[in-house]
Amino acid sequence: MTTTAAPETGIATPAASAAPPPRRRRSALRRRNALIGWSFILPNFLGFGFLTLVPVLILFYMAFTNWNVFGKADWVGIANFQRLLGDGSFHTAFWNTLYYSALHIPLTIAVSLGLALLLNQKLRGVAFFRTAAFFPYITSIVAIAVVWNLLFSPDYGPINEVLRAIGIENPPGWLTSQEWAMPAVVIVSTWRDMGYYMILLLAGLQTVPRELYEAARVDGANAWQRFVNVTLPCLRPTMFFVTVMLTINSFKVFDLILVMTDGGPGQATLVLSQFIYRKGFEESQFGYASSAAVVLFLLCIVVTIIQFFWNKRRSV
């Protein structure tokens, strides 16, 4: 029972606690630090830089060409981007992606955080429930699509049976209606992803020092206050990671929608990744598809940078 460091100082920036070195040695030290820093990153960077970064940079270049995948790639300037501006399908896909994300991100954070808090306790059989929560993520996506399609079935589906039973006269058509297809997809993807993010949050919850809870309890804080004042601040780095990953993954959502609705009915659930795939692999306009990928990238990166700074400000 020695340290009860407040979480704020616990997560304090590295330099804060280091004694300032004498001025003339500072640049040498800095160089040494940079060297050590790079030596840590290098093993990963060798693989990452060559196998991921280089292809991504090629893709960025291709966004400004009429690349057809078989070698031909003439520079066309910003023509692809201009075309995106006037492309109705792209607009639909863009807004659908934002709509999906706006529903999916908060819902998933709430559910997976709740699940993680619940399953962080010492219950009998907690291992079973944790495994159950993770099962949607490892169940074959084909089986998921089939079963949820059945559950959502407008006429005989169990979901609408329940809704009718509780007095809703006209339950939604879910996957068969243009208005409700996206909410239905969001429900399924949240259901599928929550176990995944629960794992990440569970790991984060292990960093909350028990002493802080005890101190808070001594101060008379109730469960909600303990959650707000102890759990959340300690969880911030993990939450940052989870929100960034969740945001990016929502913007990139692809395979679940592909097997559940394939973008339909009509274009009600067409999202950006699918637009990119269709333009590239089905219509062989890889240059044009690349430019849509760049837009998706920019969208993600802008939101990530906002989250980055917001996180920095909050943690100072």
């Binding site: 804060a16 990963n44 306790q121 084909v142 089986a143 960093t207 809870y213 990953m245 990744s273 990928a293």
Partner: protein, 308 residues
């Protein structure tokens, strides 16, 4: 400060480190649970049970469908339990396909990828989390940025690159592809930032190098993060379909997902009963690994070292 140094001394004791990861924490009732009355407890279990049914229903349907005949799988209305169980599906998929080879290949890939991802990822994460040098934040943003690019859009340039290196159609392609992703770096970096800097500072004063701090302090303290990274990487590699599809053309190299899909599509039309039988088998290893791995998510494991 002195208290912390004391804590450090405890940690540095030989054997002490290992104990951090493996020893079970003192049995203690968790903060929230201690107040629950029996009635509340029962209610909670009922809720959890309902939730578990909702979570497992599709999986249950898949297992049941693996015991149907091919044309019975899809029907109106939905059939949960088949009239007669067709165990033959399991015999067929096991004897007529190369399940064993596929499982061996997938296991090899998943273990190699997970090992490399955790090793290089956590190593790089230390550089990002604890070292200061110019360009660090930009480089980190580049890492995160690549996550934001959909793989389908740079799949072909990457394939051409790896083909030129003559590694396509070998296990190397998948290992190289998956092992150096930005995901692990990001995850580990965020976790390292929750570990009090004072611990490494004290170790530094005791003469430990940065590599020593990573090895002797950060690694043991980040067991829960390593566990979740390992689990997620393992599962993702195990279930990956598109990567192996593009790169592993030789049937001897096929992974379980690829092999299963190819096996059933080689029948006259996709036999979902057989596919689901194979998928059920393929889930078992993951379920076991998860059951083993989840025990590292135990409250207080990371901080127990601080208590001397």
């Amino acid at each position: 400060m002195s208290n912390l140094t004391e804590a450090m001394v405890t940690i540095e004791r030989p054997g002490g480190l290992r104990k951090l990861g493996s020893s079970a924490p003192r049995p203690r009732r968790a903060a929230g649970a201690s107040k629950l009355r029996p009635a509340g407890r029962i209610l909670m279990y009922v809720l959890l049970a309902i939730a578990a049914i909702g979570l497992l229903a599709p999986f249950f349907w898949m297992v049941m469908s693996s015991l149907k005949t091919a044309n019975e799988v899809f029907s109106v209305p939905i059939v949960w339990i088949p009239e007669t169980f067709v165990w033959q599906n399991y015999v067929d998929i096991w004897t007529e396909s190369n399940m064993l080879t596929w499982i061996r290949n997938t296991l090899f890939l998943a273990v190699s990828v997970t090992f490399l991802q955790v090793l290089t990822g956590s190593f790089a994460a230390y550089g990002f989390a604890r070292m200061r040098f110019p360009g660090r934040d930009v480089l980190f943003l580049v890492y995160v940025g690549t996550i934001a690019v959909p793989w389908q859009s740079y799949m072909i340039p990457q394939f051409i690159l790896l083909s030129d290196l003559k590694v396509s159609n070998t296990f190397w392609s998948i290992i190289l592809l998956q092992a150096f992703g930005a995901f692990g770096v990001f995850l580990m970096k965020q976790y390292y930032e929750t570990i009090p800097e004072e611990l490494s500072e004290a170790a530094r004063l005791d003469g430990l190098s940065e590599y020593g701090i990573w090895r002797r302090i950060m690694l043991p303290l980040s067991i829960p993060a390593i566990a979740s990274l390992s689990l997620l990487t393992f599962v993702n590699t195990w279930n990956d379909y598109l990567g192996p599809l593009i790169y592993l053309r030789d049937p001897d190299l096929w992974t379980i997902q690829l092999g299963l899909k190819s096996f059933v599509s080689n029948l006259y039309d996709t036999n979902y009963a057989l596919l689901f039988a194979g998928l059920t088998i393929s889930v078992i290893p993951i379920a076991i690994i998860f059951l083993l791995g989840q025990k590292y998510f135990v409250e207080g494991i990371a901080t127990s070292g601080m208590k001397g």
